[in-house]
Every structure is written in C-alpha cells, then in structure tokens.
C-alpha cells in the first residue's frame, strides 16, 4: 500500500510537469490541446538522440552520476531537449494553431491539435521505429527503504522526483515574486486587462509555449527513464495529463502540480483494487469524479 503511494507520487510528479504547460495554454487560449502530450514524446526522443551522441563524442560524460543510471550526458541532453521541445511547441503554434485562430476558428483548434498529434506521433514512429528503447541498458537495482512493510525505490526515481520538486519550487518563486510571474497570471485571469496594462499578449503566449514545452521535455525524459521510450508515450499520457489539469483546475499552475500528484496516486492505488488491464480508464474515472463533485477543480475559477 505504501509502495503504491510512493510509486504514485513519483508518476504523479511527471504528470505535474506535463500538466503545467497544458493548463496555461488551455486557460489562455481556451482549447484542449490534444497534442501537448506529444511534446513529452518529442522530449524523450530528442534526449535519446543527443544522449547517444554525447556518449560517443565525449566519453567522459558517459559516466554515471553516483549510484544513478543517469549520466552527465543525459543531463546535458535534457537541457538540449528542453530547448528543442520548447522550439517545437512555438513552431506548432506558429504553423498551425495561430493560423487557425486567425481564421476565426477558435473551436477548430481542438481538431487541429488532434490532427497534429496524429502526425507527430506517427512521424516519430516512422523515424525512430516502433520498438521500445532505453536510455541505459544497465540494470538498475532498487534500494530497499524498509523490509517490513517492503518498500523499494529506484534511486533514479528519487533523483527525478527531487529534480521535479526543484523545478516546481523555481516556478513557484517566479509566479509569486516576480513581475513576470504576475504578468503570466494576469494574462490567465483577464487578457484584456493585461493588455491594457501594457502586457504584450503575443509575447506572453510564446513564453507560455516555451515553458510548457521545456517542462514537457523534462517530464518526457523522466517518463522514459522510469519506464521506457516508445512512440506511444504521447497517446498513453494524453488522458492522465488532462486529468491532472482538470483535477487542479484549468489555469492554475499550483493546481496542475497538485493535480498531477493526485492523479498519479489515484492511478496507482486503483491498481491495487482493479485488474491492471483497466488502468487506462482510471484517469477518465477521475475526470468524471471531479465533474460530479467540483467541476472547476481544486483551484480553478470559471473564467470571465
């Protein structure tokens, strides 16, 4: 039971990172972006490519960091992947979503995101192949935290969780103490008033895509690190990440953080009750529950 809790928090923190960008975009642009989850996939694969490259060109970087299976090369690759994925997010908006908006078809952005996700997901499959891949072929042994009850955790998992917490802290500081953070929240609450106060909406939007893309890259790599890398990462994570945003309340970054953890916990706890085949349905049940009990989520507000 506690093992499930531990695993749940771990999985949840990955979902949280993925959900932050999504909740901001959903709130400001008012559309459910079904292609956001593909950014996690892109992040994972780009990091894979650079990881291999760095290992070959800079053999020293291939050394593992302490007891982790993560290498310095991977850390560097994550940073490169964040840049690349952020750029992809901005590019997708520029090429597709903005043009759809300019045609006056806001509602159509959802379809466009469906179509885009199909393209990205299957292109990844075509380029990289359909088989699963791993960052490191080394077997990682789990550390036993306690024998009774039996609690095991992989040090990689602890590392990813710690990095996630650090990122969350950084985001919190930016949002609560910098005028830049205020401007992000302002745009989310009232875009017209924000513009009237001198905030450049277009530029803020690009920043939102960049942040969302960057965080998604980290989430994708962590997901790949703790599970495996395959082209269906996006497809598998679409519903859980949406569930995280809905639980937390669309537009609330703190909500996304908390929502991800809750979805992760709930999904893992459900595994102890339901047969594992049903796990894809759990996020949906969570969404239903939220809609029944508290439709605006934990911190969401009905938008003006």
């Amino acid at each position: 039971m506690i093992q499930h809790l531990l695993d749940g928090i771990l999985v949840g923190s990955i979902l949280s990172l993925g959900a932050i960008g999504l909740t901001m975009v959903m709130h400001i642009l008012r559309f459910a972006n079904f292609s956001h989850a593909e950014l996690l996939s892109i992040g994972a694969y780009v990091a894979l490519v650079f990881d291999k490259m760095f290992k070959v060109t800079m053999p020293l970087m291939a050394n593992e960091i302490g007891p982790l299976s993560m290498t310095w090369a991977l850390i560097l690759s994550i940073i490169v992947s964040m840049v690349f994925t952020a750029a992809s997010a901005v590019l997708f908006d520029r090429l597709v979503f903005r043009r759809v908006r300019e045609k006056g078809e806001e509602l159509s952005m959802v379809f466009a995101s469906f179509g885009l996700s199909l393209i990205v997901r299957n292109l990844i499959g075509l380029i990289f192949g359909l088989s699963t891949k791993l960052y490191s072929k080394d077997i990682v042994f789990a550390t036993v935290l306690s024998r009774d009850p039996l609690l095991v955790v992989k040090l990689d998992q602890l590392a990813t969780f710690t990095i996630t917490l650090v990122l969350m802290l950084v985001i919190h500081i930016v949002l609560s103490r910098t005028t830049f953070g205020y401007s992000l929240r302002a745009v989310g609450e009232n875009p017209e008033l924000a513009q009237v106060n001198g905030i450049n909406l277009q530029r803020t939007l690009i920043v939102v895509w960049i942040i969302g893309g960057g965080l998604a890259a980290v989430a994708g790599v962590f997901y790949g690190l703790n599970n495996q890398i395959n082209p269906m990462i996006g497809r598998d994570l679409v519903l859980p990440v949406f569930a995280a945003t809905i639980v937390g309340g669309i537009g609330s970054v703190y909500g996304a953080l908390l929502g991800g953890i809750i979805v992760g916990l709930a999904s893992n706890l459900a595994l102890s009750i339901l047969p594992s085949g049903y796990s894809p349905s759990v996020p949906f049940i969570i969404i239903l529950a939220v809609l029944l009990i508290r439709p605006n989520g934990l911190f969401g507000e009905a938008r003006a």
């Binding site: 005028t179 401007s183 302002a186 609450e189 017209e192 008033l193 513009q195 009237v196 106060n197 909406l201």
Partner: protein
C-alpha cells in the same frame, strides 16, 4: 502638448464586423480637460472607449492620439503611449494581491517603480494597509480605488474611465471625481463615461451625449447642466426616442 490630446473621427466599430455598435462617432478631447460621455444603455459608450484603446476593431474612421493615427496598433502598445484605461468591471486582477497588482502596473517604470509606488500609496492611503490581501477580497469601493491607482501609476497624459464612481458611496465617488479634476490641472486629459450625471457635469469641462451608436448633443458641461431639455431627458432618467 498639442491642443487636442485625443480625437476620434467618425468611427464605425463593433465586436463583430457585420454588426457595428458605433455608427460614426466623433469626439475631441482638449488637453487638460475633463470630458464626460453620457447616454442611455446600449448607446455604445463603453464600446467607444474600448475602440480607442484597441480592444474593439474599428472598420472605418480614425483615432488620433496627439495627432498620431492609432489604427492597427495593438492595445499593449497604445497603453505605452501614455493612455490609461479603467474598465467598468473586472478592472483589477482578483487573484493577485494589491501589491502585486500595483507592481504589475508599474512594470514599465523601471527604476522609478519604488518611488512611484510610495507616491501612489500616499494618494490612496486606503490601499497601504491592504497590500498583502488578494485584490478580490477587497470591497467594491477599495477595488475601484485600486483600479484608479493602477491607471495612474504610469503617469499617463490621457485617462479613459468607464463609470469610475459606479458602486461607490457618494462621498467616495466625489473623492474620485475631484481627484480627476485635480489631475487635469496638471495637464492630464480625461474622458469619463458616467451614469452619475449630476455629479460629473458639475466637475467636467465638456460633455458628449451618445445614443444608438451616434453623437446626439455635445457642449460645455455647465451649459448642458442648465439645458432643460437635456435635463429632462438624461438627468431625469427619461429615454430618448430611437433614431436621430
């Protein structure tokens, strides 16, 4: 400062291209004057102000800021040209604290931000005790003062306000209107929409009456105040017949 700080020439504007709300409205705001726009509901008063700051699209006509054409310029840029706008509702950020609201408004002030914040708090003492509270938790009157403070924070030359005294107790309403009157003495030009016509006309220089998206009557505020027909129609609350 040129004589005409802000001019609107015959604009046709609306939220949807085929459905104009303003059908040829013209306004002139002299530098350092307090101007009031009044009229029945649906006249297009709020739309007029939104069109000036770029939030509503103009299909025909011109908006000239100190003689410079404002067509096609984005709202956030227009704001940087020294125009401040206070909407009627949703005019503060409820989820941010009072201090955060003010700091946001002061973003473009750079090094002067702290100094200006102190000055603002002196002008609006009611806000200094509430800096850490979320703006949404303030009372209606306090929110209104915050909205005005945010508008004044950038030391604008031109201020546009949509019913600044709405929902305020008469004393607070008078305070704000008098504050605006004082500002015009230092050269700031002000355009107000007001339902509180009596109070506004007593302090204003010039008044425009709009109805059905068009200019109806305009003139010196003191003359309109004494004009019995206008008095009957607007100050007594009677409505103008459609068409003009």
């Amino acid at each position: 400062m040129p004589e005409i700080a802000l001019e609107v020439r015959n604009i046709i504007a609306g939220y949807v291209p085929d459905l104009p709300i303003l059908r040829g409205v013209s306004i002139k705001v002299k530098s350092g004057s307090l101007n009031v726009v009044i009229g029945p509901n649906g006249a297009g008063k709020s739309t007029l102000i939104k069109a000036i700051v770029g939030l509503v699209s103009i299909s025909e006509g011109h908006v000239l800021l100190r003689g410079k054409e404002m067509y096609g310029i984005k709202p956030h840029l227009i704001a940087s040209y020294g125009i401040s706008y206070v909407p009627q509702i949703d005019n503060i950020f409820r989820t941010l604290t009072v201090r955060q609201n003010l700091e946001l408004a002061l973003r473009s002030s750079g090094k002067n931000a702290n100094k200006r914040l102190t000055e603002l708090l002196e002008k609006f003492p009611i806000l200094s005790g509430k800096l850490k509270e979320k703006a949404g938790a303030l009372s209606g009157g306090q929110r209104q003062f915050l909205a005005v403070a945010m508008a004044l924070s950038t030391y604008p030359d031109i201020i546009l306000m949509d019913e600044p005294s709405a929902g305020l107790a008469p004393k607070a309403a008078q305070e704000i209107l008098e504050m605006l009157r004082d500002l015009t003495n230092s050269g700031v030009s002000i355009l107000l929409i007001e339902q509180n016509v009596n109070q506004a006309l007593r302090l204003a220089d010039y008044c425009y009456i709009l109805a059905e998206g068009r200019n109806q009557v305009d003139g010196k505020a003191s003359e309109l105040l004494n004009n019995s027909i206008v008095g009957e129609i607007y100050l007594g609350g009677k409505r103008l017949r459609a068409g003009a």
